[in-house]
Symmetry: C2
Subunit: 112 residues, 2 copies
DNA sequence: TTTCATTATCGTATATTTGCGATATAAGAT
DNA sequence: ATCTTATATCGCAAATATACGATAATGAAA
């Protein structure tokens, strides 16, 4: 009797956690960096820049996709991805909000 | 033949990914919020604020601990935790740095 | 010393993630 | 029509995460 149980939490917390999870693997961070570096959409040169099999990279990509962090035009054999600015913006704000909340306790920490 | 393979990536990416992973569960986000709300260090009132068993909460806490996101004084039956401002600060910066990198591509997105 | 309350840890079950090779798919080239 | 190239998906194995109950440990109170 133990699996996710995440539905119990508020939507906001779930969303933030989900975003964090999406970027919680170095490979996916590298993918984002690669996409940020190339000005135009690139296809699978991502694979070349990672020490992982093509199928594994594809899997990481689809995780970023389903989290809405990147967009993709999968037309035929040549898929094209790029960063979804809107999502980045949204979570950048929410994350900053959380961090500011935490910062508010700065002066009062007692066990550090 | 397939497990983590995360050691291959740069330390910076690993660190950022690890931080993201640490906050990638709603329960852990709530724990941080609780710690932020209480001005002084609280002990296990965290458990009361979560719909999870005590042992599960303890597990989540120790994950935050080992990620260095919170500090703890575990003296006897009354453990006391608080946010580790230093770590929050560090990753706040690194995360902001990544986001700014991504933001730079804002104008040039082509498949959104 | 015994009891109590609080917290950490162990053991266990289930779910999810990570990774690969093999295979399917789909558009363009020959 | 067939071949090639790029990419997604399937199937599988191993690792990790999530959750719980039970138990251990530890300091305070009786």
């Amino acid at each position: 009797m133990a699996f996710h149980k995440k539905e119990i939490f508020s939507q906001k917390e779930q969303n933030l956690a989900q975003f964090a999870k999406a970027i919680s693997h170095p490979a996916r961070i590298v993918i984002l960096k690669v996409l940020a570096k190339q000005k135009e959409c690139i296809c699978g040169d991502i694979v070349e820049q990672l020490p992982l099999a093509q199928s594994t990279v594809s899997q990481h990509i689809s995780e970023l996709l389903s989290a809405g962090i990147i967009n993709g035009t999968i037309d035929g054999p040549r898929s094209c991805y790029c960063i979804n600015w809107k999502t980045i913006q949204k979570f950048s704000n929410e994350f900053g909000f959380l961090l500011n909340k935490l910062k508010a306790t700065h002066e009062k920490t007692c066990c550090s």
